[in-house]
Symmetry: C2
Subunit: 324 residues, 2 copies
């Protein structure tokens, strides 16, 4: 069988990826040529257990996946995880939803539980972008920016088929692109808006205007329903205040994307996350505001992310195949 793939089976080397989320570790096996996922699985994540227990669960999931896929041990395991890391030691420096992992080395932890296998770690939004560019919205694109609209605004940048993490490893924090000025002392100021203060310490971050949370707040303060599916349904039905608000949210999103074009010279954007389902309502405003603002020569494309919650483990699997 050497050098030949069985009929009906994906060819290419099988890769394993795991994605640590707030309540679940998702994982799967996929062939290195990007054919259909071979198998997927999950294990519970829990903030209230010691990190060693989490690493044991992750290792057990990886072994189950290998066994399900009929494989021997993979050369490396890719892991996506929310937070900031020390890339040389694998230590989790900060992670809002995984406090039990902070201060421990995720790569060492998972590796030890897998008899010393090589473990690669990357930010969850980055692996999702990498997965989405590989096999999702970016299937035919070499460059892709993924923007996820959820509780916050996350995302990742893929340039020329490579994940862009910047010299410090924390680049592409799209949710924290500033699109509004803090008013104090400026001669060109917006009225000060407390709700534009961001948890990151900044003011007027994209996240404060276009995340699901922000849109709920904006709807409420305009006397509209803060129930997003309901808000979107009304906006689709009638050309009223709901549609106008979502148009403006789209414009704000476009302002952030325009800055990404200016700085990265990218032109392909995939919108994901729960509130990404409103893309049909956001797109006209985003395109309008990008057309006004954009510096550059290529037409931007905005499309829906297609891999959903599988993007993360798929991107992590892809990353496991790269030389570290």
């Amino acid at each position: 069988m050497t050098g030949q793939s069985e009929p009906g089976r994906p060819s290419g080397r099988p890769l394993i990826g795991l994605d640590f989320g707030g309540t679940t570790i998702k994982g799967g096996v996929i062939a290195s040529d990007g054919a259909e996922p071979i198998c997927t699985g999950s294990a519970p994540f829990d903030q209230n257990v010691p990190s060693t227990e989490i690493y044991t669960r992750a290792a057990k999931l990886a072994l189950e996946l290998e066994s399900k896929a009929g494989l021997g041990p993979a050369e490396a395991i890719g892991v996506g995880c929310a937070g900031l890391f020390n890339r040389s030691t694998g230590e989790v420096l900060a992670s809002a939803n995984m406090q039990n992992l902070v201060g421990t080395s995720l790569t060492d932890g998972v590796s030890k539980a897998l008899s010393g296998r090589h473990v690669v770690i990357e930010n969850d939004a980055n692996v999702a972008a990498y997965g989405e560019q590989w096999l999702g919205a970016g299937l035919h694109e070499r460059d892709l920016v993924l923007v996820t609209l959820g509780t916050g605004v996350g995302g990742g940048v893929v340039l020329e088929d490579k994940l862009f993490t910047g010299p410090g490893g924390n680049a592409g924090e799209i949710g924290h692109v500033v699109i509004c000025q803090r008013p104090a002392n400026s001669d060109y100021d917006a009225p000060y808006a407390k709700e534009l203060e961001c948890a990151c310490g900044s003011y007027g971050c994209l996240e404060r205007l276009v995340s699901a949370t922000a849109v709920m707040r904006r709807a409420k303060s305009s006397g509209l329903t803060p129930d997003l599916p309901d808000l979107c349904a009304r906006a689709r039905e009638t050309d009223g205040e709901e549609r106008a608000l979502l148009h403006q949210v789209g414009r704000d999103l476009g302002a952030g994307l325009a800055t990404l074009i200016t700085l990265f010279d990218v032109n392909v954007f995939a919108i994901g996350g729960g509130f990404g389902a409103a893309l049909d309502l956001l797109k006209p405003g985003a395109e309008e505001s990008m057309a006004e603002r954009r510096y550059g020569t290529r037409e931007p494309k905005i499309m829906a992310a297609t891999l959903g919650s599988d993007a993360g483990w798929i991107g992590a699997a892809r990353l496991s195949a790269e030389p570290s």
Copy 2:
């Protein structure tokens, strides 16, 4: 002498760079190990002569430099030039101050005038950033963002010792990072300010707030002298309105730099251009506003660019040594 450098002479292969400016083509020879420039020279640039004449002047300058330096023909010539290019053909697609070159291939033009030698082209702000990171403010840094404050705001991004130009080749347009929202229809709006409309089609670009031109306008509209050296002198003498204005300009600059940190995860900034001489007055405001806004973990450093108008040809020379 093979393999050995003469005492007192720079070792390393000599490299030639040219920098096309609005009135002058500057050029020089420098050793590939970055020792002191071996020699420099210049030729007049003129928008009113045919492109072939410009390319002949550039070629003549290159030959003069080689002769002055006592060299045979360099393997390649690096050229910096304002504008947008087609990178595969070397065609100048747009250039405000070099209309006579638009539609012609700069690389072919200079190459033909030099009997077919290899010519490498890059944006003038990018080569300046590359020069500054190599031998100027970034001498001991692997990453550097150069921001030039002049008639406009230009700049370039060097990451991990490499020039970052993005997948489309036009990345790092720092002057066009949006830091103010266009007011129309927004629920978080500044009063509409016509002077924040940018020539690029956008609104609230960094360039519209912190370029020399913008600061002259801002000073005038505040009833202060629009003479920048005079404005700066007064600001240094007395803690009055002049200092307050320049503090605010610094804050606006910091807002732009904060977005660069968020997206590129860089932390070293060199400020150049004519109005860069006001850095002592801008820095406190910039640091204040970056400290408020910044996402990331590394302390930012803001310093003065040190190579002045030599940065461009030095960066172009460096680029000529890279595989294309």
